[in-house]
Subunit: 281 residues, 2 copies
């Protein structure tokens, strides 16, 4: 698996592909790849002639008290995972390659970033939009792949791509889960054995909310209450948020109609986990 | 001269050119074109196979008390001017085409926008960066042309293009002046006969500053004083700013060395005019 470190190198390789008339997919990641990422790479490989996977722990999307330093990294493992899933190139820049001196420009979007993770991680989505916009300009892909696991990120990327006319198609991909229901996440590696067991409360509680909607419940607050009540049965869980929002704008909705995102963030010990489902009614 | 109104149309035309292997230049303008704009179009036509001129009075770069409504518009005249100068296509979107409902994403850059016009026009450069970034994504030009007349805008566009890796070369073009020295500007049309005469004080005062530097003056404050003192001899002139900054970062410099921008903004009656020169020592 070829790994390049500089903007110049990735551009030269993609320009060569373009000359051959090949299409290009991009899967932006922070590395420590799991089957969730691999599902994005596989999707890209099925829709494009070539797939670039960026592996970059983006410092500007971490707040001052977040886990930038602790975030797990293993490039050799990532190379294997990309190979397995059918990717063609890893772009793995150093922070100084992405953020040279006097770096002072940002892409930001407001509406979709106000609630959920945006409310508690104030610089997070500015960092996400900026690095994703940079990657679009570096790779110039036809399509880019984002997991529904980070549903607010997906809605936010879709918004800034539309607003700023980036010539790239955003392809959403479903959440990949462990056999017992836990959503795959690089941060799951932080969990000890007890926490790993306790973390099941997220997917289990969401399932109860989804069942209520499927049984006809349309009152968002009642769905929230069902989920919160179940989350509270787990002594190791501390709720950050339980929200019901319209998926396009990420604004609260009182009744469940249209495309609705039910999203939760829960601390298990010191590890903050997120999970969600989307319904379309 | 072909004029298109939608993103879709301009993309289709440019895609056709690309298929033929042609290079594309972009000249972003707010219309009411004069010889300054035409010099950009000519430069683009000399360096690219095809030149797109955008004509769009961009609402989001005007503050609430600025001249958005009054800003002069004349598309038929602009079509002639583009034709004369060798442009191939005008992109003239309606505001709703550029800013649809729930438009909430912006490109912003801090350092180069703090002083000069950025200090008195707080949303101006966010609006400029956003519309220019959109135009880059819509047209995907090889090169884009900006006049040194708007020197802070030029430095700001260069900065965000570098920071966000937009794959476009920024080509700066010198100021074009009337025979008597007044820098060409669409806003000159606001001046009555007396104001038009009084407006000469801008270029005359800058000339004195430039002569002082050429004679060996390296103290920025002394150059500022020479320019201010001369501007104050014109009763119809009201100084907004006189500044000496390094051109790359648009930060104040005490001594004149390297690439230095000497920039002024002066009200003549109700009309705010800007002018500048750059030295490289």
């Amino acid at each position: 698996m070829k790994v390049v470190k500089t903007v110049k190198e990735v551009r030269e390789i993609v320009a060569g592909w373009r000359k051959e008339g090949l299409t290009v997919g991009l899967v932006p990641t922070m590395g420590f790849l799991h089957e969730g990422h691999q599902s994005l790479i596989r999707k890209s490989a099925s829709q494009n002639d070539r797939t670039v996977v960026s592996v970059f722990v983006n410092p500007i999307q971490f707040g001052p008290n977040e886990d930038l330093e602790a975030y797990p990294r293993d490039l050799n493992r990532d190379m294997q995972k990309v190979e397995e899933a059918g990717g063609n190139l890893i772009f793995n820049p150093e922070p100084a390659e992405m953020y040279p001196g006097h770096f002072t420009s940002f892409i930001d979007t407001t509406e979709t970033t106000e609630l959920l993770c945006g409310a508690v991680r104030p610089v997070h989505f500015r960092g996400v939009c900026t690095v994703v916009g940079k990657l679009f300009n570096i790779v110039c892909p036809d399509r880019a792949y984002f997991g529904q696991k980070d549903a607010q990120q997906l809605a936010t990327v879709k918004r800034f791509v539309r607003d700023l006319n980036f010539p790239v198609e955003i392809v959403p991909c479903p959440i990949v889960r462990e056999d017992d229901g836990l959503a795959k996440s690089s941060r799951n590696t932080y969990l000890n054995a007890d926490e790993r067991q306790a973390a099941l409360i997220l997917s289990k509680s969401l399932k109860l909310g989804k069942q209520a909607i499927e049984a006809g419940e349309r009152d968002a607050q009642k769905v929230i209450d069902i989920i919160r009540k179940n989350l509270e049965t787990e002594p190791m869980a501390r709720i950050d948020y339980v929200e019901v929002v319209d998926f396009e704008n990420i604004q609260r909705t009182a009744s469940i109609q249209g495309e609705v995102l039910v999203a939760i963030a829960v601390y298990i010990g010191k590890t903050r986990l997120i999970d969600n489902f989307i319904v379309n009614i």
